[in-house]
């Protein structure tokens, strides 16, 4: 009975927090713009590929290759005569999917390591932090390139590689937050009662780092999208799937630059910029919203 009441209380508290959170957030212009953009692209990613199929433009039976925009093909065609607008829409799905999946992996690893490291302290902390330092210090692109080259060009590998290499920053942040939460009274009390470590970490620490995780996720997502785009551009992506990065890869290697085919080079890049911007905006907004409650880490 008592436990149920406690749970209900928690839920009500959650709801109140959520609504107060939204009331603050919605006042932040940047955050709103970011949210709108993100929703736009999410809808595009989910529904777009169902409504659109990649057609080839041909005039009098001749495939129109690298054609500037026309009425039927708003973003022109690529080197195979295929519709670029359709490519961009279809590419949004995989691009976002990779970003989300990689971020998920990264966040899970980073959070687990951060909490475990902060909670246990001493030897475990030292070891985990050394490893984290290593990953922080190794330049991201070379590491990703090497791993992608070793594992081969496939979507799964890309997601894996990005996830594996970007958790370090998160781990650091979560760890320091864990350190301060660790000393809080309710944690002491839980320990005194004899709660298991995993229980404490999951039910006491995790909910309190959650807002921080949330804010950090958004920034990691931005990096993930940029990473996939860069990896695909450099030829480490899956050439059989359409993503914005792959489109840029083919644009570059199939002559878009010497053709000054801006209709091929600009749209995928602009999409990436918009999505990354939206994440960054949301991240900034979240930071400001959550600032009074948590201390913001600058470096």
């Amino acid at each position: 009975m008592q436990i149920d009441a406690l749970k209900n209380e928690r839920l009500a508290l959650w709801k109140k927090n959520l609504s107060s959170f939204w009331s603050i957030y919605s006042q932040n212009t940047m955050g709103l713009i970011g949210l709108v953009i993100l929703i736009f692209f999410t809808l595009m990613a989910i529904f777009g590929p169902l409504l659109v199929s990649i057609t080839t433009m041909s005039v009098d039976g001749v495939t129109q290759v690298m054609h500037p925009p026309t009425s039927g093909f708003w973003l022109g065609t690529d080197d195979l005569g295929k519709d670029i607008l359709a490519g961009v829409i279809i590419g949004s799905r995989v691009s976002l999917l990779v970003g989300v999946a990689a971020t998920a992996i990264s966040m899970i690893i980073g959070t687990v390591i951060g909490i475990v490291s902060g909670f246990y302290g001493r030897a475990v902390d030292a070891l985990l932090m050394r490893i984290t330092d290593v990953f922080l210090v190794i330049p991201w692109l070379p590491l990703m390139l090497v791993m992608a080259a070793l594992l081969g060009p496939s979507l799964g590998n890309i997601i894996f590689v990005i996830g594996i290499t970007s958790w370090a920053g998160t781990a650091r942040i979560i760890r320091s937050q864990t350190l301060s939460i660790k000393e809080r009274p309710y944690v002491e009390r839980a320990r005194a009662i004899g709660s298991e470590d995993s229980h404490i970490m999951f039910y006491h620490i995790l909910p309190n780092v959650f807002p921080l995780i949330f804010a950090n996720t958004v920034l990691v997502a931005a990096i993930a999208i940029l990473s996939e785009t860069t990896l695909s551009f450099l030829g480490m992506g899956d050439p059989t799937r359409v993503t914005w990065g792959v489109m840029l890869h083919f644009a570059f290697s199939m002559g878009a630059v010497s053709h000054v085919a801006w209709w091929w080079l600009l749209p995928p890049g602009i999409c990436v910029v918009l999505v990354v911007l939206s994440f960054t905006f949301i991240g900034y907004a979240l930071d400001e919203v959550l600032n009074p409650k948590l201390r913001r880490r600058d470096q």
Binding site: D79, D238, P239, T240, S253, M254, G255, V257, S258, H259
Partner: protein
């Protein structure tokens, strides 16, 4: 604050000044006739024993000479060897060398250099050249310009010894281990028309003319090979006049250049001894990791019937290429075998007939199942380095799907592919070969001896092997041809390869600066071919 403001502004102004100056281009001057060739891959080394890239070979051809060369009809003509003869046994060759040739450092070229080169390579099994000298038993210097070579068996393709003649006085000082290792050969001394003076890895390689070249001083003063990190900008550089020639132009850019039809740029679709093939794993050994269906000739033939090669060429290769048939490319007219009416051209109906009769029936989903109960589902390995191959692969997948064969495509890099081939861990793959002028080199790829070496499909046919040994020793050209025809017939009937296309060499070069371009062979490319005639004969347009 104020002080800080001026600094960046000053920098900006300085920048713009510099740009203005560069833009004018008034300060630069080319006082010599410099020829610039653009390329994508780095020239990895100047040491002939360790090179493997086309560009590095081109630099080698310019630096060193062979004993012989070829004319436009692929007849062997003299180079450093002005005459040669063989005795009745077919085993003793006598070479009469050019007189008055000097090395880049002024030392005279003699028969000693040739003897040294052959022995050095033979005794130390160096590089790709070993095959050419492996059969040399004894090499003797008769006089300053005469040399005899005794082989242990008669060899039909002597004297086409594609070995760069090295200066004995330089290379005798080099430890053979270093020759294949860290010896950079940064200052190569050869007898060729040009000499390397500046080699910046990843940037350019600069050669200046050999004033004392024995065939006469070439018209060009310098040849510079410039590296570009991507093709598109390289093509643009050609258009802007920064380059004189680019070779191996990708289909899309080539077409674009043709469409633009700049009168000063000539696009050349040259015949080249290279082809693309679809190879099967025909390793008849339980160790093989390939699908056993592929050991059934019917399956392989059916697959050949199901593939529309012309369509592949038109779409994936933008129309540049010819439908291929037998192992020796059409370019070598003398040796190439036309399969005639027995050619398995595109005929999906026939494919289905063969499969049905061989016991491969369709199941409910349309996929065929073999007599062993396993579905006809195979893995096709594709090189990540070749977007053309990738396009072909997806087309082949569709074509085979329509006759009930399932294909899964896996894109891997060349290194991994090579490993998988040697482990027998593949069903099919697409790759290509670049063929030497003498057919022996490509024919041996299908011999049993070369399995786990040059062979990449594990093909083994004793009849073929016997013929191969025989043709190598048959000195009579016509007799030899009959043998080679028979070999091609056997190999084609066994269908271990499906020859997809004979690929052209796509080149583009400027015609407004230099004239005297030579195509060798007659329908072949002007550069990056087996001779350096163009480099020797180009001269500025007055």
């Amino acid at each position: 604050m104020k002080r800080l403001k001026w600094l960046p502004l000053l920098l900006v102004v300085l920048m713009f000044c510099s740009i203005a100056l560069t833009g004018c281009g008034g300060g630069t001057q080319e006082s010599q006739y410099v020829f610039r060739s653009g390329y994508m891959r780095e020239i990895e080394s100047l040491n002939p024993m360790v090179i493997w890239s086309v560009q590095a070979y081109e630099v080698m051809y310019l630096t060193y000479n062979f004993l012989i060369s070829w004319d436009e009809d692929l007849n062997v003509i003299p180079e450093l060897a002005r005459e040669w003869e063989v005795d009745e046994s077919g085993k003793l060759w006598t070479f009469y060398l050019q007189e008055g040739v000097t090395w880049h450092d002024g030392e005279p070229f003699t028969a000693e250099d040739v003897k040294f080169t052959f022995e050095y390579i033979r005794d130390n099994e160096l590089g790709y050249f070993y095959d050419y000298v492996a059969a040399m038993e004894e090499i003797e210097v008769i006089d300053e310009y005469t040399l005899t070579v005794k082989t242990d068996e008669p060899i039909a393709w002597m004297p086409q010894i594609l070995v760069p003649i090295l200066p004995a006085h330089i290379w005798s000082e080099i430890d053979p281990e270093d020759a294949e290792g860290e010896f950079a050969n940064d200052n190569p001394i050869g007898t060729g028309p040009f000499k390397v003076v500046d080699h910046r890895k990843g940037e350019y390689t600069r050669l200046v003319v050999n004033e004392d070249y024995y065939k006469g001083r070439p018209g060009l003063d310098e040849v510079i090979f410039m590296i570009y990190a991507n093709t598109d900008l390289m093509v643009e550089a050609l258009k802007q006049g920064e380059l004189d020639i680019i070779s191996d132009v990708p289909g899309a850019q080539f077409k674009a250049l043709q469409d633009v039809a700049d009168p000063n740029i000539l696009t050349l679709e040259a015949d080249s001894p290279s082809f693309t093939e679809l190879a099967f794993n025909v390793w008849d050994d339980p160790v093989s990791l390939g699908n056993p269906h592929l050991l059934d000739k019917n399956v392989r033939m059916a697959i050949e019937y199901a593939i529309d090669r012309q369509e592949l060429i038109d779409v994936a290769l933008m129309g540049y290429g010819e439908v291929a048939s037998t192992l020796v490319p059409k370019l070598f007219e003398y040796w190439h075998l036309d399969p005639g009416p027995g050619f398995r051209s595109f005929d999906p109906v026939q494919a289905e007939v063969i499969l049905e009769e061989a016991g491969y029936q369709r199941d409910d989903q349309g996929l065929r199942v073999g007599p062993d109960g396993e579905p006809m589902s195979y893995m096709l390995l594709i090189r990540s380095e070749s977007p053309d191959n990738q396009k072909m692969a997806s087309m082949i997948k569709d074509m085979l799907a329509s006759v009930g064969i399932g294909i899964e495509i896996s894109v891997i890099d060349e290194g991994t592919l090579t490993d998988r081939i040697f482990e027998g861990d593949f069903d099919l793959f697409i790759w290509g070969w670049y063929v030497d002028i003498d057919p022996t080199s490509i024919l041996k790829v299908a011999t049993t001896d070369e399995i786990l070496s040059w062979s990449d499909c594990f093909y083994s046919n004793p009849e073929y092997d016997v013929l191969h040994q025989l043709q190598q020793r048959t000195m009579d050209r016509e007799e030899r041809r009959e043998l080679i025809y028979e070999m091609q017939r056997i190999f084609y009937n066994d269908a271990a390869y499906i020859m997809l296309s004979y690929d052209p060499e796509l080149q583009a070069y400027r015609t407004d600066r230099y004239t005297g371009w030579v195509r060798n062979p007659r329908t072949g490319p002007v550069m990056y071919t087996n001779v350096i005639d163009s480099y020797e004969q180009l001269r500025p347009i007055e």
